[in-house]
């Protein structure tokens, strides 16, 4: 065996050794087992080399794109390959194509909004005007509408996730420099904590300001009351008219703004422009018709991983693909309430020593240690 005189660096440079460490199979296991029996003095070097390979592989893999970056690249590619009219021109300066994409998105959305205004044929709700005015100039906006019968999860570029009920829609900047979105309908928000950069949800007549929390909003298009309910954290709700100011700490009367803590909710009555604090006997999140994601406690205690994944799949309407024979027997203890989807996934993967990637509407889990 050539490895008999190997030093640490020799092991590290041997591709067979690297392949065995990273992707062991039975034949290689036998070979290296035999080697160690024949050369017991090499055992410590071999073990050390094994650690080096693993850590080298891990540490050279630290520059992966975020989930939001991946989605943006994916969308851009899909958009560009369908632009059949633009002839092939080799790109000269690298930031050219970025600008072009941003511009085309703005244009398309501009048209969309105009059409919408016409069809509405009336004044836009106060909240929508505020949202548009507040967006920094040149911001590219997306509108996602859930036309499906199942809830739809949207991942925002700051890492927050929004689960939209069927028939609802959300407008949001492609890149959240200011974290502000506009909602029509019903959704459950899980917001990444960033106290310096508050997250604002505008609806027809109300703005909800949060610092990192989870909550649901029900804002029907028509003049029915708007309801905001908090699951974790703290939010401030403002009723909107031309004069409402969201940024200086509010001097408004209780009728124009309310602070809500977990399991509290508020209702906005359009006719009177007033906010009413609700004292629910039954938590909003337990009432029928509530999104699964809002009902879930995401509290796992020695729970089999297969159950954890099933819970996440149901809550976010996304398939999770994983190696069931390897990971299925692992169990997990964690409290993931209020965290956005990708934080939940990261926490689970960290516990399993696994990785995840989003592929279309699937999450693929790779790696991880086998549990017995």
């Amino acid at each position: 065996m050539k490895q008999a005189s190997y030093s640490l660096i020799d092991f590290l440079k041997d591709p067979d050794f690297r392949d065995w460490v990273k992707h062991p199979d039975e034949a290689q296991d036998i070979y290296w087992q035999q080697f160690q029996e024949l050369h017991p003095d090499k055992k410590p070097v071999l073990e050390q080399a094994r650690q080096y390979v693993l850590v080298l592989a891990e540490q050279t893999a630290q520059d992966k794109p975020s989930m939001a970056e991946s989605q943006l690249m994916r969308q851009t590619i899909q958009q560009r390959i369908h632009e059949t009219t633009i002839p092939f021109t080799p790109s000269v300066a690298y930031n050219w194509s970025w600008t072009r994409i941003a511009a085309s998105v703005v244009l398309v959305l501009g048209l969309g909004i105009t059409a919408y205004w016409y069809s509405q044929n009336e004044k836009q709700p106060q909240g929508y005007q505020r949202f548009i005015q507040s967006a920094p100039q040149g911001t590219a906006l997306s509108e996602t509408r859930n036309n499906d019968t199942k809830p739809l999860t949207i991942f925002l570029s700051d890492g927050s996730s929004v689960v939209l009920q069927p028939g609802s829609r959300l407008s949001y900047p492609n890149t959240l420099t200011k974290r502000e979105v506009y909602l029509t309908g019903k959704a459950f928000f899980e917001v990444v904590k960033d106290p310096a950069n508050p997250f604002l949800v505008y609806t027809r007549g109300v703005a909800t300001k949060v610092l990192g929390t989870s909550f649901s909003i029900d804002a029907p298009e028509t003049n029915q009351p708007i309801k905001v309910a908090v699951k974790t954290g703290k939010v401030a709700v403002y009723s909107l008219d031309e004069t409402t100011s969201l940024y200086p700490e509010s001097t408004d009367s209780e009728q124009n703004s309310l602070v809500l803590t977990p399991n509290q909710s508020a209702e906005y009555v359009a006719d009177s422009h007033h906010l009413v604090r609700k004292t629910d006997t039954v938590s909003t999140f337990l009432q029928p018709g509530t999104l699964i994601v809002a009902k879930q406690s995401f509290d796992f205690d020695e729970t089999p991983v297969s159950d954890v994944f099933r819970t996440l799949e149901k809550a976010y309407g996304i398939d999770i693909v994983y190696n069931e024979s390897a990971l299925g027997k692992c169990s997990l203890t964690a409290s993931l309430v209020g965290q956005p989807f990708h934080e939940k996934l990261s926490a689970v993967c960290k516990a399993l020593d696994a990785h995840y990637s989003i592929q279309g509407n699937q999450v693929v889990i790779t790696g991880g240690q086998r549990c017995q």
């Binding site: 030093s7 392949d19 992707h23 080298l56 991946s70 690249m73 194509s97 592929q359 279309g360």
Partner: protein, 205 residues
């Protein structure tokens, strides 16, 4: 957001490539989903400008779509193809990025470096955690091309010959990059203690 026909997810590279050549955009998306994360990770070893890398990664995929009619239908490794394409693209658009042979690095011949004597090197038990921290720091200090070679070899599982073709150097240079990187890793084990001492010294000033 278009969703992916599930049958592509478990397809082989060869099947995906066929699909791409036949103009199936879902195949392109599947290729993107399969390889863009590692490709981007590799790109970031060539430049720390993440917008530049995102853009270049996108262009690589858009390019293979536009050129699908002229691509050879047989491909041994899509991953290899994408990596080489990304590096060439970056080389083209980033004039300042020096990709020629680095004289100083070529100067050391491999034979003169293989002098680490097993007896003089103690095998200490080193925790994975310590090794991890040490390596994290080292990777920020090594020359870019050594980090690039280490990434392609240890993370991306490429062979020496493929790495040489991706990096556009000969195989001996690749071995050299790897060797120098590993040697630095082997020799900076006292780095942590050293830097702690310096820190203490500074605090005491």
């Amino acid at each position: 957001m278009a969703s992916l026909p599930t049958f592509w997810i478990h397809s082989t590279d060869q099947q995906l490539w066929q699909g791409l050549c036949e103009g199936d955009d879902a195949a392109l998306t599947a290729i993107f989903d399969r390889y863009h994360v590692t490709l981007y990770n590799y790109g970031r070893k060539l430049s720390s400008d993440s917008d530049l890398i995102k853009d270049a990664v996108q262009e690589v995929f858009i390019d293979i779509w536009r050129m699908r009619a002229t691509l050879s239908r047989e491909i041994t490794s899509i991953k290899f193809y994408l990596y080489r394409a990304l590096r060439r693209r970056l080389q083209r658009i980033q004039g300042k990025y020096q990709l020629g042979e680095d004289i100083q690095e070529i100067y050391d011949d491999e034979t003169t470096l293989t002098v680490i004597n097993e007896e003089t090197v103690q095998i200490e038990e080193e925790s994975r955690d310590l090794l991890r921290r040490r390596l994290q720091e080292l990777l920020t200090q090594l020359p870019k091309r050594q980090v690039e070679a280490l990434t392609l070899y240890y993370y991306d599982d490429f062979g020496i010959r493929e790495i040489a073709q991706i990096m556009d150097v000969n195989e001996k240079s690749v071995r050299n990059f790897l060797h120098r990187g590993l040697k630095a890793l082997r020799h900076n084990r006292n780095w942590l203690i050293g830097s702690l001492l310096i820190l203490l010294f500074l605090i005491n000033q």
